[in-house]
């Protein structure tokens, strides 16, 4: 292969999904925290915070659906962990703990990334279901109420989901800026310089 060539790594759909979802999640999580415990110094109009929270939740749901359809069309499983990733994860962890000098050879994403990305899909699905159930409080989706054990528990689970998102998003941003900037570039332009 020509060494001067750049490899396309991130198709347009993935890039649209990524930045749309990223913006939506930041807004959902921040407004979620504001709903959880309003900051007195902000004095936001509370009704508006709700509207923002739910609007971005619906948008995020749209972006996720887009990505899932895209994954089916392209038969793309790059973000789904396989059994071998449990072993791979040990190597990844060792790299991040400075116990080895390079990442173990991996696919498009390393095992750590796969676990985080995949968990986001799951946690997002759970939080969204609970969110929609709170929205319809008692009208529809009462089985969610029963399953989880009360609106208070629903709220708690969503709060924990928001905490999980904020913690993992921080790690994600830190590593994208410090590991390989050309991968970050690929998420914007779609192309990445090819490994020699």
């Amino acid at each position: 292969m020509d060494k001067n060539k750049v490899t396309p790594t991130q198709p347009l759909v993935v890039r649209i999904f990524h930045w749309g979802f990223a913006l939506s999640m930041v807004m959902i999580v921040l407004t979620g925290f504001e709903l959880h415990s309003p900051f007195t110094f902000l004095a936001f109009n509370y009704g508006n915070v709700f509207v923002v929270h739910m609007t971005f939740a619906w948008l995020a749901l749209g972006f996720v659906s887009l990505r899932i359809v895209d994954a089916f069309i392209r038969k793309d499983t790059s973000f789904i962990p396989k059994l071998s990733d449990f072993r791979g994860f040990v190597g990844v962890l060792a790299y991040y703990l400075f116990l080895r000098d390079s990442l173990p050879p991996g696919e498009k994403y390393n095992s750590g990334q796969k676990f985080i990305f995949f968990s986001w899909f799951i946690v997002f699905a759970v939080a969204t279901l609970l969110g929609i159930a709170t929205y319809f409080m008692g009208e529809y989706l009462v089985w969610v109420w029963r399953l989880v054990g009360g609106w208070q528990i629903v709220r708690t689970v969503k709060f924990l989901a928001a905490v999980y998102f904020s913690a993992t998003i921080l790690v994600h941003i830190y590593l994208s800026f410090t590991e390989d900037l050309s991968r970050l570039q690929a998420m914007i332009t779609g192309y990445e310089r090819q490994e020699p």
Binding site: K3, N4, H36, S37, P38, T40, L42, A43, F44, N45, Y46, G47, V49, Y96, F98, M137, G138, V142, W145, G149, G150, W151, Q152, I153, R155, T156, F159, L160, V163, Y164, S166, A167, L170, V171, Y174, T178, E179, D180, L181, S182, R183, R193, Q194, E195, P196
Partner: protein, 373 residues
């Protein structure tokens, strides 16, 4: 006779004006006098209870509770209210059970104790044998026309069923799975809720119930949606302490997750209600109360960890974010020290036709591209 529609109208009008019983009593009197309905026998069993619901009923005025017991309903058996006692009183219960099967309303007040076959809760003496609440409620419940559970304990277990539930208590519905129990929840139940439900049963049969068996005419809407402080909430003006006159959301108000008509109906003869006197709603009408509503002054319940400690959700949030930030800072420091950060940045930004590899120069922490000399 009053139509059902008119009755429901009075339920609302009575809430606004604070004289519900006063409004419905005369038409019921009239219907009784004209023989359009007959007085329904009522038996009240108190199981594991503080008698709070009876005290709450006593708040009816006017007409007085006593007036209702004798003139509007055929209130037969009730420890707190009846004058006779001992086996003479108990005989009334047994007589109703044998002579009016499928004709009486059974009211249960109090939690159903299951531990050791219910033997921590005795409610009667039959032929020298102590009868448990568990046994009696089930026996009477199966032959009642309607079973009404009043108060948080009888409906969903209530405080006695709170963690760790040493008495293994539950609500009444759990021990009568074969039939519908009408749940008039609340800690205590509002006298209008109890009486309104009983009148509805006597006049029109079973009222429309919500998903948890509660009559929709009283539990149809959340506290929050009718709250007089809702405009503060919508504008984001919050009390920072109990006792202030703004919305009490930040100090743990459970109005948004609690169904009842307290904001309109108010308590103690329409005088006031919790939010009205600057203290947050504690969610007493909801299943899972009190465990999932505690701490009453916090927005979310504390999360139990093995070993019996409980941690507030905010501390968990701050803890997780704190640990993450510390880990990132630590990693960054280590990465700077080890030179990995330099290496990665040079590698991924160097202008070259293809990705270059880097080598370490002699000086501490300096890298240069391999192909340059």
């Amino acid at each position: 006779m009053l139509s059902r529609r008119e009755f429901l109208g009075l339920v609302f009008k009575g809430a606004v004006l604070g004289n519900f019983i006063n409004l419905v009593a005369p038409p019921i009197h009239q219907a009784l006098a004209q023989g359009e309905v007959k007085k329904i026998p009522v038996l009240m069993i108190e199981t594991g209870t503080c008698t709070g619901d009876s005290i709450s009923l006593d708040n009816i005025w006017p007409p007085t509770f006593g007036n209702i017991l004798t003139n509007l309903l055929d209130w037969r058996y009730d420890w707190t209210m009846m004058q006779s006692q001992g086996s003479q009183a108990y005989q009334v219960l047994l007589d109703t059970y044998t002579k009016n099967p499928y004709d009486y309303i059974l009211i249960v007040q109090g939690t159903i104790v299951h531990r050791d076959e219910g033997n921590y809760n005795h409610v009667g003496l039959e032929d020298g044998r102590l009868v448990t609440g568990l046994e009696l409620v089930r026996r009477l419940g199966l032959k009642a026309k309607y079973v009404v559970a009043i108060g948080s304990c009888a409906t969903f277990g209530g405080p006695p069923a709170g963690y760790p539930n040493p008495t293994q208590s539950t609500g009444v519905q759990k021990i009568l799975p074969e039939r519908r129990v009408i749940n008039v929840s609340g800690c205590p139940a509002h006298p209008d809720w109890t009486m309104g439900t009983l009148f509805h049963l006597a006049l029109y049969g079973e009222p429309e119930l919500d998903k948890f068996g509660r009559p929709k005419m009283f539990y149809g809407e959340t506290i929050h949606n009718n709250c007089e402080r809702r405009r503060y909430y919508d504008q984001g003006i919050f009390a920072t302490d109990i006792g202030q006159k703004e919305c009490l959301y930040r100090v743990g108000c459970k109005g948004p997750v609690t169904y009842a008509d307290c904001p309109i109906r108010a308590w103690n003869d329409h005088i006031n209600w919790p939010v009205g006197c600057n203290s947050p709603c504690i969610g007493c009408t909801e299943p899972g109360y009190p465990d999932i509503m505690e701490p009453f002054t916090a927005h979310l319940p504390d999360i139990p960890f093995p070993g019996g400690t409980k941690i507030t959700t905010n501390n968990i949030g701050f803890g997780v974010l704190g640990v993450t930030s510390a880990a990132i800072t630590g990693h960054m420091a280590a990465s700077l020290y080890k030179g990995r950060l330099h290496k990665n940045l040079i590698k991924s930004t160097a202008k070259a036709k293809h990705r270059p590899s880097v080598m370490k120069a002699k000086e501490f922490h300096t890298y240069r591209l391999k192909h340059r000399k």
